[in-house]
Subunit: 224 residues, 2 copies
């Protein structure tokens, strides 16, 4: 970039927030940070006029979001036809307890991506996408594990959705109560929540001399 | 029920798993438990042939899932026309680190609900739904807070989706590696993850003498 301004993803009629527009964010950096912290996305697509929303793992490389699955998957086989898709990633950050029932809320950061997903057939990009998915779960893991075989690559389909039509939505902080509720006799505030990893559980067959990874996706609080 | 058999939600062509069918579950008790633990659902709907997936809070009462929002919300105003909708709740339970890149996976419990959402206009049911949403976040909270005014009720739309066409999907446990990978020189196992609440953050204006709630949704590990 030629200047210090944040790169923006151009809002469209479909991604501009109609309500509470101050919760919207279109900086690519903000969108990318949310996508990199999340571990599961919810992928929406339409089949016979019925919307379906399916949770799946994913990874981001540059301006592309990659999902993968079995080459036999009905969902992926449908989507590779470049049908319209929506991929949403939501990070829950807290519960907001206001004095009034009405103003209860949640703190969160979410990204909604719209577009069409295309199948990745170029072998190098396909392998890099699968590497990114494993590294997204546990950084450093790809170098340790048995790489995919030709047969496994054949049995896996990878789709790429460009991060082009996208918006983030963020709510932070405590409750916003009405002035007349400030003396209502109850506690008010917010309870932050976060994903925490518990102690790793080794497979019963694990070989001696190989310790568990020191950490997983940085969004997940490291186990003590 | 007249006997001890679990009540099943009848699978349909749309909810029966085509792949890995042993991960599917149709017991109503299983579906309800996942819905009651989750805090955020992802709601999918179609507008101008484009699917949208929007995160939102919700609550279950009996065989109904309730979502709410501003009466001015485009999304809710669209959906109350009983359009097809899909609501998905996903609980991430762990990261599964196999010896092969290919067998990496996640542990999770998810529910996919299909159907059409109808607006709740009956005042008692509408109020009970909003109570359930607040109680879902923090049990006991409803009794403490300022109840909704007539104006707030008017400004809020509540939709109900019957829990009729639904399926759960569950993956648990460690990696399932190929026999020939068992001696691959790396750690293998799974890392459980869970949502944890941090210390509550009181609003700066909170009145003295009102302690923070002892806990929130039971799925969230209590803060120490």
């Amino acid at each position: 970039m030629e200047n210090a301004m944040a790169e923006l993803i151009a809002p469209t009629e479909r991604t501009r927030l109609k309500r509470l527009p101050d919760r919207g964010a279109f900086e690519r950096e903000t969108v990318n940070a949310i996508l990199d912290e999340g571990l599961v996305c919810h992928m929406g697509f339409v089949h016979d006029e019925q919307p379906f929303v399916i949770p799946t793992t994913y990874a981001r490389i540059d301006d592309g979001l990659y999902v993968h699955g079995s080459a036999a998957s009905r969902t992926l086989r449908t989507l590779r036809g470049e049908l319209p898709v929506c991929i949403t990633v939501t990070l829950l950050d807290g519960l907001v307890l206001a004095r009034s029932a009405f103003h209860h809320s949640m703190n969160y950061r979410s990204v909604v991506l719209l577009g069409a997903a295309a199948e990745v057939t170029e072998p190098d990009e396909k392998l890099r996408a699968l590497e990114a998915v494993v590294e997204h779960m546990a950084p450093g893991r790809w170098a340790e594990v048995r790489p995919p075989t030709v047969q496994e690559m054949k049995g896996t389909m990878v789709l790429r959705l460009p991060i082009a039509e996208a918006s983030a939505k963020i709510r932070r902080g405590g409750p916003i109560d009405d002035a007349e509720d400030m003396t209502w006799p109850c506690w008010a505030g917010h309870v932050p929540v976060r994903l925490t990893a518990l102690a790793p559980v080794p497979a019963s067959t694990v070989l001696p001399g190989f310790p568990a990874p020191a950490g997983v996706n940085p969004y997940v609080e490291d186990y003590a």
